[in-house]
């Protein structure tokens, strides 16, 4: 499945953020995630890895040196 699930790795704890993500756009210190059904979420962090074959997952992690912590910040 090409559509992926996005997770945040926050100090070793993996949290699911969004399923069936169809588009990811970088914005400032994070990413806007869009799913197939019109939902949108903004997540702070940087991409740790992307697996598009087995698990279809995108894992973000916090950016400690900038003081930015991975997490959700919902925007309309």
């Amino acid at each position: 499945m090409c559509l992926s699930t996005v997770y945040v790795d926050s100090t070793g704890k993996i949290l699911e953020v969004m399923q069936d993500v169809a588009r990811i756009e970088a914005e400032n210190d994070g990413y806007n995630l869009f799913d197939l059904f019109g939902a949108r979420k903004f997540v702070q962090g940087t991409i740790k890895f992307v697996d598009l074959i087995d698990e279809h997952k995108v894992v973000l992690e916090e950016v400690a040196e900038k003081g930015i912590h991975a997490g959700l910040a919902l925007r309309p």
């Binding site: 499945m1 069936d20 169809a22 588009r23 197939l36 059904f37 019109g38």
Partner: protein
Amino acid sequence: LGDFCEAVRNTRITGANVSGSLQMKLSVCGKGGSGKSIVVSLLAHQAKARGLDVLAIDSDESNSGLFRMLGFQQQPTPLMELVGGKNSIKRKIGRSDLFSADRISIEDIPAPFVVRQNGLRLMSIGKILLSLEGCACPMGVLCRELLKKLEPDENELVIVDMEAGVEHFGRGIDENIDAIVLVVEPSMESIVLAEKIRDLSAGVRKNLHCVLNKIRSQKVSGELKKMLQAKSIEVAGIIPDDPAVFEACFKGRPIARGKAFEAADKILTRLFNPTIS
């Protein structure tokens, strides 16, 4: 006695129901060319003849002939358009109030996406139409989410015409249906695939009902049954090689009533009453 009657009224079984009323989501799968759409058409028409409200879902991204076989003049608008179609997804993603609900009733689905004719309803997930347009993954997600949320009302039967092969199992589409109908034709490829589908169905804990199609003689059905039984696959019904089916496929029109419909009625009895052998 009043409490007892109330309890009986409130006993609604999802799937097969021995009392005569049911709410069921069936998928029909098998090898390409084994006759999935034929079986969907036969079961849909026969279920309608039994007084059930039937919704057929065309989940085949390639072939588009189901609507003709069911007797529809036109295809429904693909559900992909409800979320804006692929182009919209690529731009900024579409919108869908329908999928924001926890539960979807068939009546909730807007008219262009469900066509009604002769007592049957039909919807289509989407088709690959252009070269280089990309994969069918969004359609798989859409079908999976629709089936997850779609709750048939009493006496409503949903029949899903799956894409050929087994990718739908990998996509998780079959997790959200009540029973799987496996169509097997007399060919080694079909038998080998049946074995794989037996395991995949068990993996999602679904009852598998095997239907033999294109059967020319009792000798063929006997041999085929034996080969499948050796793989622990029990046969729930046999659809004979009916000239009416050939004619319908050749001319692109509904199947005329004949031997195949009689067989379909027996299969429905087995599906709705799995204890009958």
